[in-house]
Each structure stands twice: as C-alpha cells, then as structure tokens.
Point group: C2
Chain length 340, copies 2
Amino acid sequence: MNRFLSACFKKPVDRPPVWVMRQAGRYLPEYRQVREKAGDFLTLCRTPELAAEVSLQPVRRFGLDAAIVFSDILTPLVPLGVELEFSPAPHIANPIRDAADVSRLTIPEPWSGTEFLDETLERVRSELESETALIGFCGAPWTLASYLVEGTTSRSFTKIKGFALSQPDAFEDLLDRLADAMAAYLRRQVEHGAQVLQIFDSWLGTLGAEDAPRWALAPATRLLEQLADLVVPRIYFANGGSHLIDMLGDVPCEVIGVDWRTRLDEAAARLPDHAVQGNLDPGILMGPPEIIERRTQAMLAKAPRSGYIANLGHGITPDVPVDHMAAFVRTVQEFRYDRD
Amino acid sequence: MNRFLSACFKKPVDRPPVWVMRQAGRYLPEYRQVREKAGDFLTLCRTPELAAEVSLQPVRRFGLDAAIVFSDILTPLVPLGVELEFSPAPHIANPIRDAADVSRLTIPEPWSGTEFLDETLERVRSELESETALIGFCGAPWTLASYLVEGTTSRSFTKIKGFALSQPDAFEDLLDRLADAMAAYLRRQVEHGAQVLQIFDSWLGTLGAEDAPRWALAPATRLLEQLADLVVPRIYFANGGSHLIDMLGDVPCEVIGVDWRTRLDEAAARLPDHAVQGNLDPGILMGPPEIIERRTQAMLAKAPRSGYIANLGHGITPDVPVDHMAAFVRTVQEFRYDRD
C-alpha cells in the first residue's frame, strides 16, 4: 500500500503524503499552454488526452503523492439533463425551481454520459508509478444543489435556502437524486482506476448548525454509504465547516478534509476515527518562500502523527508563483515522523 | 436609558432590542424609490436629506429599536485620498501596492471630508423618538485594508495576504492608519448624534487563528481603545469568526456581533463580559413566515437572558419579501423575558 493510501487508513508512514487541491491549474505555465490549446474549459475536461496530460503535470513537476483526475464537479450533472456552460463562471440555463424540475433529473442506469472521464482515468493511471495514488472526485449534494438552484456561483445562497424551506419535499428529492447519481458516478471512477475518492462540499460553510445536518451531512452520508463496499478510501472535504466539527465524526468516510479556519489539532482530537487532510491557507503561498516553509512546518507540527494528509485548506489560486508551490511541497517531503 | 443601550450594557430589559444589518436597503420599495431619485449609490450616501430618509424608513415601517445611519464602510476612505467608485461593486482606482502608497494615506486632522454624514446623523437623530437608538459605524482595519489592497471585492484575498507577508512593516503601517482614521471618524459620528458604534469586520472570516490576532483583532483593538473614553457602547461584528470565538473576549468593546455559523449559546458562554448580537441566517427570511417565526423563536431560546441584541447574522438580502422581514421583527417584539 502506498504512502497516500496508508495515511488514509491511519497506517504508519515515513512522512505525510502531500497533494494540493487544484494542483492541475492555472498557476502552472504548462497547464495554461494545454488550456489554450483546448480552447474552452469544458472541452479540456472532455478531451481525455489533454485532461490526462494536465492531471499528470503537477505530479511530474513536484513529485506529489497523488494525482487528481482533471474535471469539474458540475460535468456529471450534464447526463442528468442539466444545461451547463462556463463563461468563465458556471451558468446553468435550466436551473431547478420546483418539484417538476427536480423530477426531470433522471439518473442514467447504468451510469453513462461521462465516458471521457473513464478514458482520462485510465490514461493517468497507466502513466503513474504505483507509489502515486489517483484521486477521483465529485461534488457533494448540497454543493451541487446550490449550483442547480442558484444557477451560478452565489454569494448569499438565498434562492437555495428559500427553495429548501418552501419546498422541503422537492428539495429532499433533489438531494437524494444527487447523492444517488454521484454514488454511481464515483463507482464508475473506481472501475476505471480511481483509488481514492474525494467529495467536495465546497459550500458547506454557508450552513449553520441547524441546517447543515439535514441539508448537507445527511445527503453526503447517503452518497458515502453507497460506496462502503469499495476498498477505496473516501475523503469528505468539509469546506468552511469549522463550526460543524463536532458533527463530522458521524460522516461515513475515512478522511475529513478541513480548511484553514479549522484548527488541525482540534480537528484531529474531535475526529478520532478519521484521518484528517489539510489545511494551509492558500493565501500563505503568496508570501516569500521562507515564510511558506515556516508556516508549513507549523502546520505539520499541529497535525496528528498518524492519519494525516498534507494539503492546502482550499484550492491553490492562479496567482501563486510556481516556486512557492514547490516550497510548500518540498517542506512536507523533507519532513520525517520521529520513530519512538 | 432605552432598551437598546440597556442591552448593550447587560442591564435588564423587557425583551431583546431588535435591528437588522442592511435594514435600510433594497428589499424595501420605499428605499428603491429614493435610490432611484439619487441616481447612484455614492450620491445617496452623500445627500443628507435622502440618506436620512432611507435611514428612517425601516424604523417607521417596523418599529425597530435602532436606526443605523445610511452610508458605506468605504466612504470615509475618500478623505484619505482613496479614489472610490461603485459599479455596483466597489472599485478603487488607486489600490495600495507598497509602502509609498501607504504613506500617501494621510488622515485629516481634525477629521474632515465626511461632513455629509454629520448632517445625516443630526437629521436622523432629530426625527427619532428617544427610545430608538442611533447607530454609527465604520469598517474594521482588516476589512478596509482588504478593499484597499485587492482594489475590489475579492474571493481569495491573495493580494492582501501576499502584501501582509511580503511587506509586513508597510502592512502594519496601513492597519495603524486605518485604525486611527476610523477612530477619528467614529468620534465625529458621536459628536453628531451616534449613540452606538458598530465596527464591521466583514472579512474577518478569511483569516485563520494564526493570522487573525495580528491582522484583524489587534488593529480593531487599537481602533476601539481610542473610543474607550466615550460613553457609547461599541459593537464589533466578527463576521465569519466562529472559529475565533475564544479570542474575541479580549476585544475591548461592549458587544460582539456574531454570524449564523456561530452558536449563540456558545458565544454567550465564551464571552461572559460582552453582550452578544445576532444571528439568524439571512437565508431563513426566504422561507415561509411561519418558519421564520419558529426559527426566530429558536434563536431567542438559545440567546443569553441578558446582554443580547436580536439581529440577523449578516445583512438582509434584496430578495427578501417585506412581510418576511416583518415576521422576524414581530417575533422578537412579541417575546418577553420571564421574570424570575
């Protein structure tokens, strides 16, 4: 078992594995080159040769412990009938407004409509060494529902909350469909080479403790439970969820990903049955390399001694200099757990 | 002493006072009418007759316990030499990039350049009954610095964090200047009729526990300490700061405002020396009135028995129906503390 998988299962490792959310992204000149060749973002996602290439670029450059397959959390909504565009923010031409809209979301059975990703996964897997893990992913039901109801990236999330409160049955139906669709989609990713699965709940932080359990954690649980028979570790990225840490212990997965607002030592203490992933503030990568090193060391000092995956607390931003990313990764790679 | 001021000082009241952030705003048809007459947003802020009118509108309609003077947190930056526009998001034509930019920010002494607000405050105060408090406000240094360095509303806050890490002396100078300028600005608001002061740290939630103390809480403290000789209560709105609750007890003010991610009972327990303000999720106002009532009652049940001001956890959004706002306010107004 490689370092990444071992850490997910809280087995001993020499040092924490490291990868970075959005590691295949615009901060890399070689990514921008491929992105330009592809033309638009969705074409890049749907062209296995190019998507595989950008998935592999950061692994080649930094020697990361995992590749994440290049795609977007919204692409698997297209097989459900969602009309999706990026310009560059995502726009949904047929947003969900009522129960009838929800009932039109039909899950292909067996899952189909994302065959491009099957091929991308296979290409990436065949190029990776066995010590490098391949991560598949999807969006969590609450996060996907937010896009579907708001129609685009929102600041206030009032449409979705109004929908959830005014049409609770339709909303529950929506969350159930998204959970079941994403479970089928992730299962297919495993069939084609994904060895780890990450569920991005990017908008979890918009919910207070009254609503997060029913609107976010319950549907994420429904999704994750359908994957329990697979041997792959599951990571639930609880973005913005520092105030919900006492509720995350019940999420059926191996790893909880936390952002930089969550204290890593507190997360580990509150989640004794989970491995923890995170959590350097991506903004720190804008500072000088010596500060990046110092802050990464401080992060590692706060992290649990077993069951820990080093990462940023959110995606790397396009303005980060490549050598700053390198300083972060190298600091983790040079770290060693003391042997007691 | 009226109900609002009593609650700020943790004195007995019959029920919690209630007001709402952005209560003078686009959800009100009478506001939209005045806004249209003014033309653009900055003109509305700078025309005392119109600004006073919109400040008073929600008090007239809902019988709120406080009016907040209509303005924007960025308007007092103009006297420092900042070139500000709204289109409709704020844009700063001369953003701060280095120490020289910071050194050009000069604080008028005595404070001047916001005379329009003096008149607005006087007009509002003269129209209010004595039981209604008048709130003056400003942005906190971290929040204002974010706009000054980013140049507009940001999602990732990488420019300001890069600036803070790469040019720490210039950044500290910037925070100090903003703290001192805002202290002078708030003092002037009190001279012209403000009876309560709220400091909005709208972007506090972008900082983890490593950086919030030095970049947000220390400069906010510097600002607040300069107002300690005034008799007016000071409210620090710690937006997004649920993960910092154990640090907020040291902020020198009478009231801590919290958002809906912070549990109200936990906030009160962790802040025994402060009154607490908040915190219904503004998204709840998009639900049916009976749900708004139930959720408001639940909020009141969680709130401390003394030293509590009812509010939303963030500004009311433009899409809220007026009768939904009314349901929220009425539920608080009908509540009574039990007499033991």
